[in-house]
C-alpha cells in the first residue's frame, strides 16, 4: 500500500511537470485548442448543408465527431512527449531514480488526460456558440464527456508505447498522425458511411472512432443517422463496443508500455 501511494505521488510529480510546461510554453495549449475549434467552424459552415433532414442540423452530429477526432490525436501528443524525453536523456535519468517503474508513464498519460479536459471544455463552448444543443440532460452529457476522456486516455497508452520504441520525436509524431488522421475520416464522424464503397463501409462501421462517435451521439441525445446501414453489432451497440475497445487497448498497452519503459535503451 505504501509502495502504491508513493507510486501515485511520483506519478503526480511527473504530471505536475507537464502542467508547468504548459504554463511556461502556453503555445502548446493554445495550438491544441485553436486547431479543433477551427475544425468546428470550418465543418460547421462548409459542410453544414449536408445535414438537411437532421433534427437540429448537421452541427448536432458534427460535434461528437470532432470531439472524438480531437481526443484521438492524444495518441500522437503522448508519443511525441515521451520520444522527446527519450531523446533528451530524461527517461534514463528517471530510470536511475528510486521511483516506481510505472510512475513516469502514469504521470504522462494523466497529464495528457487533464489537457484533454481543458480542450474539450473549450470545444464544447465553441460548439454551443455555433448551435450545438445536446438534448439528453446533464447526467448523460457528463457520461458522454467522460467516455471521450477515457477514450483519449486509452489511446494515450498506445502513444506511450509508440514514443518509447521510437528514437525520434518528430518521426513518431508524424507517423502517429499519419495513422490516426485517416482513421478519424474513415468513420461516421463527418459523413454517412452509407455512401462509402462496401469494404470501406465495413471498416468504418468497426472503426473504434465510429463506435465512439455513435456512442457519444447517443449519449448527447441524437440519433446516429451517419452509420446504421449494415446493422452490424458495433453500429447497434456503440457504447458497449467502444468500452470493449478501450479495455482491450489498455489491457494490451499498459503492461506493454511499463515493460518497455523498464527496458528502455536496454541495448
Amino acid at each position: 500500500m505504501n509502495n502504491f501511494m508513493s507510486g501515485v505521488s511520483d506519478a503526480l510529480v511527473i504530471t505536475k511537470r507537464q502542467l508547468q510546461q504548459l504554463i511556461k510554453v502556453p503555445e502548446v495549449l493554445i495550438f491544441n485548442t485553436i486547431q479543433p475549434v477551427m475544425f468546428v467552424l470550418l465543418f460547421r459552415y462548409v459542410f453544414g448543408g449536408l445535414g438537411q433532414g437532421i433534427p437540429g442540423g448537421y452541427v448536432q452530429l458534427l460535434m461528437p465527431g470532432i470531439f472524438v477526432q480531437t481526443v484521438t490525436f492524444t495518441l500522437a501528443a503522448t508519443a511525441q512527449g515521451l520520444a522527446q524525453d527519450m531523446e533528451k536523456g530524461l527517461i534514463d535519468r528517471f530510470r536511475s531514480l528510486p521511483i516506481a517503474r510505472s510512475a513516469v508513464v502514469m504521470g504522462r498519460t494523466l497529464g495528457d488526460g487533464l489537457l484533454n479536459i481543458v480542450v474539450l471544455m473549450v470545444m464544447g463552448i465553441a460548439g454551443y456558440i455555433v448551435g450545438w444543443r445536446p438534448t439528453s440532460g446533464t447526467f448523460h452529457i457528463f457520461l458522454g464527456f467522460l467516455m471521450l476522456l477515457f477514450f483519449g486516455y486509452a489511446l494515450s497508452w498506445c502513444g506511450v508505447f509508440a514514443g518509447l520504441i521510437s528514437k525520434d520525436a518528430r518521426v513518431v509524431a508524424n507517423v502517429s498522425f499519419l495513422f490516426t488522421f485517416p482513421l478519424t475520416f474513415l468513420s461516421n464522424a463527418f459523413a454517412s458511411t452509407t455512401t462509402m464503397p462496401k469494404p470501406l463501409q465495413y471498416f468504418a462501421e468497426w472503426n473504434p472512432v465510429s463506435t465512439m462517435v455513435a456512442a457519444t451521439r447517443q449519449l448527447f441525445g441524437f440519433h446516429n443517422t451517419f452509420g446504421v446501414t449494415a446493422h452490424s453489432y458495433p453500429s447497434e451497440h456503440p457504447i458497449v463496443t467502444s468500452l470493449f475497445y478501450m479495455v482491450v487497448l489498455m489491457a494490451i498497452f499498459m503492461p506493454l508500455s511499463v515493460r518497455r519503459y523498464k527496458n528502455a535503451n536496454n541495448k
Binding site: R17, Q21, K24, K88, G89, R93, P98, N266
Partner: protein
C-alpha cells in the same frame, strides 16, 4: 572498503557480434575517485549504465555500496547519483523547477525539496539564473545543473559520464573546480573521460579501457611513466642543431630524436620543468637561442599507442 565492484562484465549486441563489454572488471575504494579513461566506443558509457542499473549485462557481477546491482536495483538507485553525457533536464522548465521536481522524485517532501534546491543552486553558482528556463543556459551551466540534480540525496556513489565533453575550455575549468570540491568533501566517484589530463586532475586511480576491457590501470604517475612521461622539444637554427642535441641528451640522460627538416631535437625527460630550465640556461650560456621550446605531455593517444600499439581513433565504434 570497496564502494564499487564490477566483475567480468560482458554485454554484447547483435547476437554477440559486438562486444561492448568484454569481461570488464574494476573497483573503486570508498572515498576515492576512479577515472575510466578510453576513446569513444571503448565501453565507458556501457559500464556506467550497468553500474547505475540502467542496463543489464549478459553476465558478470556488479556491486555498488555493498548492494548487488542486478538483484536489488531499486536499493542501488537510492544511494547513487548519475550525470550522463548530455544534460538530462527538462529544458522548458527553470533550474529551480527541475531541482524541486527531482527532489520530489527522490521522495523529499515539498519543503525539503525547496531547501535542497536552494542549497544546490548556491553551491553551483546558479542562484542568479535559477528562474530562467534551461534552454537559455550555456553548455557549462547545463552540466553544472545536471550534476546538481544528481547530488540531491547526497549519494554515496556518484557516476559522471564524460562530464566535460563538448564544453569550451572555460566551462571545463569550471566543471573541474566543482568536481574537485565534491572530491574534497569525500564523495566516492567514478568518472569517465577521453582526456588523460582530466583523469590526471581529478582521479586518484585510473583504468584505461579499450574494446570493453581494462588494458591498464594505476595512478596517473604510474601510467605516465609507462608511456615515458613528458618530452622536451627544442627548435633551433640549423647550425646549432648538434650542440643543442648534446645539451639535451646530457640533461635528460636519454637518447634524443632529431628532426633535421623541422630543426627539432626532442627527448623524454623525467622532471619536466626542471629539465626545461636547465636546458634553457645551458643553451644561453653557450649563446644558442632556441626558436621554440616546449614540454609535451603525453596524451590519451600516447597512452594508447604505448599500451595497445594502435591509436585511440582506431577503436571500434559503439
Amino acid at each position: 572498503m570497496k564502494s564499487v565492484i564490477a566483475q567480468d562484465l560482458v554485454k554484447t549486441y547483435r547476437h554477440g557480434e559486438v562486444r561492448a563489454l568484454d569481461g570488464l572488471s574494476l573497483e573503486v575504494e570508498e572515498g576515492t575517485v576512479l577515472g575510466v579513461l578510453g576513446p569513444n566506443g571503448a565501453g565507458k558509457t556501457t559500464t556506467v549504465r550497468v553500474l547505475s542499473t540502467l542496463l543489464k549485462p549478459d553476465s558478470g557481477r556488479a556491486v555498488v555500496g555493498g548492494i548487488d546491482v542486478l538483484a536489488h536495483p531499486k536499493n542501488v538507485r537510492e544511494i547513487i547519483g548519475l550525470s550522463g553525457q548530455y544534460a538530462a533536464l527538462d529544458e522548458t522548465l527553470s533550474g529551480w523547477d527541475n531541482l524541486v521536481m527531482f527532489g520530489r522524485l527522490y521522495h523529499l517532501n515539498a519543503e525539503q525539496a525547496r531547501v535542497r534546491a536552494t542549497e544546490l543552486l548556491e553551491q553551483f553558482s546558479l542562484t542568479d539564473s535559477a528562474k530562467r528556463p534551461i534552454k537559455t543556459f550555456s553548455g557549462g551551466m547545463r552540466r553544472r545543473l545536471d550534476l546538481a540534480a544528481s547530488l540531491i540525496i547526497r549519494p554515496k556513489v556518484l557516476f559522471l559520464d564524460e562530464p566535460t565533453t563538448g564544453l569550451d575550455p572555460r566551462g571545463r575549468m569550471e566543471m573541474w573546480g566543482v568536481i574537485q570540491g565534491l572530491v574534497r568533501d569525500g564523495v566516492t566517484l567514478l568518472l569517465t573521460t577521453q582526456y588523460l589530463e582530466e583523469a590526471d586532475q581529478l582521479a586518484d586511480d585510473i583504468v584505461v579501457i579499450d574494446r570493453g576491457k581494462v588494458i591498464a590501470q594505476g595512478t596517473s604517475d604510474q601510467l605516465k611513466s609507462k608511456v615515458g612521461g613528458e618530452r622536451l622539444e627544442i627548435v633551433v637554427q640549423e647550425h646549432d642543431l648538434d650542440q643543442a642535441k648534446s645539451v639535451i641528451e646530457r640533461i635528460s640522460g636519454s637518447t634524443s630524436t632529431l628532426d633535421a627538416g623541422l630543426r627539432k631535437v626532442s627527448a623524454p625527460v623525467k622532471s619536466g620543468t626542471e629539465s626545461l630550465i636547465a636546458v634553457v640556461r645551458e643553451l644561453d650560456a653557450i649563446d644558442i637561442h632556441p626558436l621554440d621550446i616546449a614540454l609535451k605531455r603525453p596524451s590519451l593517444d600516447d597512452v594508447f599507442m604505448s599500451i595497445t600499439g594502435h591509436a585511440a581513433e582506431e577503436a571500434s565504434d559503439e
